[in-house]
């Protein structure tokens, strides 16, 4: 049997994951039943309106929140997962430390994990080059535009070589043009780094454009409404957004989110 014939073991396996927030006697169901797999090296888009629990799900994956029901399994026999070392996070705001230069900002996770300094510096420099910020190592965050700060934040999320990168609406605060550009950049960075990425967004076309797979979550009631593979050729290009196939995928999501 050839290697391709063997279905790879999922890197993330969620089954029936539930999250309930309690405030006094009131309970709020943030996630009712999230069930999906993520293969190693996939870029999965989690799309849904505000309050659908997508950020909560991301925090559960990051090990920041416990879940109340179901099972979360990260890592496989071939891809071991260390919860302390193997999570990189990117948020909507770049959240760079104002008092640190860009290189020092990128190095923050490596410092926290106590990784060897010299190696980490080399890696941080290489990553800054990868995200297109070569030459900006000694700048302060305020000297960079919003898009560039977010690139630095992506480099920071990769500096400790995590196996899983969690992104919470990372381009949500950028203008439309910068956002499109960053989408292409992210696909390039993803391809070159080979990371597994879970990408949270409320942009439907962004979700389809980026994802190998799209998971749709709805709010009120919070539930997982769909989970499908995106069969669009790679590398993706912006003009694919005008293709019939792309339109079918986005319409599929629009219908679920009640916008059509």
């Amino acid at each position: 049997m050839s290697a391709e014939a063997v279905a790879p073991e999922p890197f993330i396996r969620l089954s029936g994951v539930q999250k309930i927030y309690r405030k006094g006697t009131e309970t709020h169901l943030a996630i009712s039943d999230a069930t999906f797999d993520v293969l190693p090296g996939e870029l999965v888009s989690l799309v849904g309106p505000s309050g659908c629990g997508k950020s909560t799900l991301l925090k559960i994956l990051a090990g920041l929140h416990p879940h109340d029901g179901g099972e979360v399994r990260i890592g496989s026999a071939t891809h071991a997962f260390d919860p302390a070392r193997d999570v990189g996070m990117v948020f909507q705001a770049p959240l760079l430390l104002k008092w640190r230069r860009i290189l020092q900002n990128v190095l923050l996770p490596a410092e926290i994990l106590g990784l060897p300094a010299a190696e980490s510096r080399e890696r941080a420099r290489a990553l800054l080059a990868l995200v297109g910020l070569g030459g900006y190592e000694d700048k302060y965050p305020y000297e960079l535009s919003g898009g560039m700060q977010q690139r630095a934040a992506i480099a920071r999320a990769l500096v400790h070589d995590p196996k899983l990168v969690l992104m919470d609406e990372p381009f949500g605060a950028l203008d439309a043009l910068t956002r499109e550009k960053m989408n292409l950049e992210l696909l390039r960075i993803w391809k070159e780094s080979g990371k597994t990425i879970v990408f949270v967004t409320h942009g439907i076309s962004e979700a389809v454009f980026l994802g190998t797979r799209v998971v749709v979550l709805t709010a009120g009631p919070a539930r997982m409404a769909d989970n499908f593979r995106v069969e669009l050729p790679r590398p993706r290009t912006l003009d694919m957004k005008t293709h019939e196939r792309f339109g079918e995928y986005t319409r599929r999501v629009y219908r679920l989110l009640g916008m059509e």
């Binding site: 920041l64 070392r85 999570v87 948020f91 705001a93 959240l95 008092w99 923050l108 410092e111």
Partner: protein, 252 residues
């Protein structure tokens, strides 16, 4: 004129213009010396050895700098303790907010009862008036941490100490400095009020002495020297801020 030197030039010009206005007001208005001395008469007072300027300046400066430094240590120290114990913070912070409401000047007579005359009670006065702004702004700065940044550190299983040294403390520095700037101005007021209420040396004491004889030039000179001490303190704080806080992060 918005270049750096242009702005410095304008600032110097404004000060010079004020002194010129003062000069012409006294000269052309034929204002009596005991109401308002000319700039020259004020400077002349500086030459009179009877006023013992140097000693009085040292006394007042000691009170101001001493009280300020003490407030800095106690204010920042307490704020740090509070970030490590939420219970202590919940217990003491509301109390300090209430204490901050006391007009510190009103404590003057009590401080004299408790500590007698001299440099020490006036230092306490300066301390009591400037410790709260430092404490409150520092505590606020240490609290102001973006929740996502906290998530980032926690996702890496970073320790409480790492969070504190790498994010909280450097993030609080701009706040600490904004409190320190407010406190620098208050410290001067505190020390002088202390000297007015009861003391046997210092520039505030001197002002009360010469007031009796309507020696206005000496009073003017004393005010100028008090201002100068305040400016040195404030300038020192600004310089330190410039060295420690990245331009973009500075507040107020």
């Amino acid at each position: 004129m918005t270049t750096k030197w242009g702005r410095i030039g304008l600032a110097v010009l404004a000060h010079a213009a004020l002194i010129a206005a003062w000069y012409f007001f006294v000269k052309l208005g034929d204002v009596p010396k005991f109401v308002m001395p000319s700039p020259a008469a004020t400077l002349e007072a500086l030459l009179d050895p009877d006023y013992d300027w140097w000693r009085n300046v040292t006394v007042t400066a000691t009170e101001i700098f001493g009280g300020y430094f003490l407030a800095l240590v106690v204010g920042v120290g307490l704020a740090l303790v509070f970030t490590w114990s939420k219970t202590l913070e919940a217990f003491f912070m509301p109390l300090f907010v209430s204490l901050n409401m006391i007009p510190k000047v009103a404590l003057g007579p009590l401080i004299i009862v408790w500590f007698k005359y001299g440099i020490f009670p006036n230092t306490i006065m300066a301390f009591s008036i400037c410790v709260f702004p430092i404490l409150l702004t520092t505590a606020r700065g240490l609290r102001e941490i973006e929740p996502e940044l906290l998530d980032l550190v926690r996702s890496l299983k970073g320790s409480r100490w790492q969070l504190f040294t790498k994010i909280q403390l450097p993030g609080a520095l701009p706040y600490i400095f904004s409190g320190m700037k407010v406190a620098a101005i208050l410290a001067v007021a505190g020390a002088i009020v202390g000297e007015f209420l009861g003391s046997d040396k210092g520039l505030g004491y001197l002002m009360l002495q010469v007031q009796v004889t309507l020696d206005t030039p000496a009073m003017f000179m004393a005010v100028l020297l008090i201002t100068a001490i305040g400016m040195v303190l404030y300038g020192f704080v600004l310089l330190l801020e410039r060295l420690l806080v990245v331009k973009d992060a500075r507040v107020g």
